[in-house]
């Protein structure tokens, strides 16, 4: 059995390590999502597949399809934005965690959470600019999308991607998704890619690993 932790020892170590700072992990490869805002029909199959995979009750949603509608007749528009955890290059959730429950994988940049280490302080939930960490009220812990790491490690794609009948959601190396060199059905031959859409938090905060095929009314940059 492991030795019980000595609080005084920890405090001493804290003083010794004082002024050390957090440095984000620089992964060998950064996986990310691509979502086609225009061709998505908002069926929410991805949401349900995610909830099914993760055994989520009605409240928390790791993935969310957001309906965006606007304009004035006759210039009206509608499109969908689909986001879960964006597995940011420099995630805000990770440095907030006091127990080390959140970590970023070196090999593919996936930001995973071991909820069994979570004490429910909910700092990650507050810090994430994209609302990814989800509070599980009956357990007083937080959980979130981990891009289905078990599927990734088994050579498959996440449940949300597999469930998308329109093929508008996909994953891939984010640098290749950004420069358009990654082969994916989510992007058509004349589509262009943006990193931010209307109403989305500033990507400079955490550098999220997601790109979009935007609607003409939704593109930012």
């Amino acid at each position: 059995m492991a030795e019980p932790l000595d609080k005084a020892k920890i405090k001493e170590a804290v003083i010794r390590k004082k002024r050390e700072v957090y440095e984000p992990v620089k992964p060998d490869l950064q996986l990310g999502f691509i979502h086609n805002n225009v061709d998505c029909i908002g069926c929410r199959a991805c949401e349900i597949a995610c909830k099914d995979k993760n055994g989520l009750a009605p409240g928390p949603r790791f993935r969310r399809v957001m309906y965006v509608e606007g304009g004035k007749f006759p210039d009206v528009y509608a499109y969908k934005v689909n986001m879960s955890c964006n597995h940011c290059a420099e995630p805000a959730c990770l440095p907030t965690c006091p127990t080390g429950a959140i970590y970023k994988r070196q090999k593919d940049g996936i930001v995973d959470i071991d909820s069994s280490l979570c004490i429910g302080c909910r700092r990650c939930e507050a810090a994430c600019p994209f609302g990814a960490p989800q509070f599980i009220p009956d357990q007083n812990i937080v959980s979130k999308c981990n891009m289905c790491v078990d599927e990734i490690d088994a050579g498959r794609k996440p449940y949300c991607v597999m469930a998308c009948m329109m093929r508008v959601l996909d994953i891939g190396p984010i640098d290749k998704l950004r420069d358009g060199t990654h082969e994916t059905k989510a992007r058509g031959p004349n589509d262009y890619i943006v990193s931010q859409v209307q109403s989305m938090a500033d990507p400079e905060l955490t550098k999220p690993s997601i790109v979009f095929i935007p609607h003409s009314k939704g593109a930012v940059k």
Partner: protein, 334 residues
């Protein structure tokens, strides 16, 4: 595998994938279409919010938050509620229907902008009562966990929720004066992407949040702005060595006591006098909010308030910055 490769397993085959997709589409249609806006209303956590709080409302009305203990410069005590305000808050507590509560005008612009903490806490007092778990499900003890930013000398006490750390801990009460609506700036249950429809009011919030983190959280959780001080990208922990002595423990004051003396702390969400006082004895009082708790990798572009003796030449980095805080944050604005 690299995530970009087509899956090689049976699940990667298009016919199987289409089958899976169709199954989930059917399930999604069943779950969402009948009443997509009421899904959250049935969440167990949400249901209890309104119905269990009537006794807490009375507390909120009759017993305002305790005065800050040991505050160096004690913030003004909240004015006693007039009869009308107290009655309005008591009325909030009587709303027992979740949907009614959800659609209460207080949650929308413009009422949310002037909502008092007492009004919010009439129904949401549990946010300050909620505690972290003593142990994680795997047995990690909260009392023996320390995050890297909790090594700052401003940190005291044990692990607590982020609401407590921003509103009710001794440090929060000393240096901050945050109201609920500083962060929670409104919510329109009709829209998943706020203020995207033609009829909505631009609430300045971002997707999946009730706030724009760039305009709020980033103020105290941004990167150390060393570049604008001419330190290039050097972190403060590399610079502070030699600037701090036992008599003058706060290296920031080497330059910011007189030479570069902005007045930006004179905003209504901070207790400026208390910060000034704390900064003289604690080395991390300034750094804590200026790089010491940097969740975000960019810096907040603070307004550059002029100070007596300020060089009239505006440096390149400050050319597009405002010279005073946003109107709603100016000291004296409630």
């Amino acid at each position: 595998m690299s995530g970009g490769q087509e899956p090689k397993s049976v699940f990667g085959r298009n016919d199987v994938r289409a089958g899976i997709a169709f199954g989930y589409v059917a399930l999604a249609a069943f779950v969402f279409w009948p009443a997509s806006t009421t899904v959250n209303a049935t969440a167990p956590g949400a249901q209890t919010v309104v119905t269990q709080k009537s006794t807490q409302v009375a507390q909120a009305v009759t017993a305002p938050a305790a005065a800050p203990a040991a505050a160096v410069a004690t913030p003004a005590a909240p004015a006693p509620l007039d009869k009308e305000a107290a009655a309005a808050i008591a009325a909030l507590a009587k709303i027992s229907d979740y949907q009614k509560a959800r659609w209460h005008p207080l949650h929308f612009k413009p009422a949310i902008d002037t909502a008092s903490n007492d009004q919010c806490l009439a129904c949401h007092k549990e946010v300050l009562d909620t505690k972290v778990r003593d142990k994680s499900p795997a047995g990690v003890a909260a009392a023996q966990s320390v995050a890297w930013y909790q090594t700052l000398d401003t940190f005291e006490g044990g692990q607590d929720t982020f609401h407590a750390r921003h509103m009710s801990t001794p440090f929060a009460k000393t240096v901050m004066n945050l109201k609920c609506n500083f962060c929670h700036q409104g919510n329109d249950p009709r829209e998943e992407a706020q203020h995207s429809s033609a009829t909505s009011v631009n609430a300045g919030v971002t997707m999946r949040k009730m706030v724009d983190p760039s305009k709020t959280c980033l103020m105290c959780h941004g990167k150390f702005p060393g570049v604008v001080m001419g330190f290039e990208d050097q972190p403060w922990h590399a610079l502070r060595e030699g600037m701090e002595t036992p008599d003058a423990p706060n290296g920031c004051l080497s330059c910011h006591a007189d030479q570069f003396r902005t007045e930006r702390h004179k905003v209504n969400y901070l207790n400026a006098a208390a910060i000034e006082s704390e900064a003289k004895t604690k080395s991390d009082t300034c750094f804590g909010c200026h790089g010491g708790r940097a969740w975000y990798r960019n810096s907040y572009p603070y307004p550059r308030h002029p100070w007596p003796g300020m060089d009239p030449v505006v440096p390149e980095w400050a050319k597009n910055r405002p010279t005073q805080s946003a109107a709603e944050h100016l000291a004296g604005v409630k």
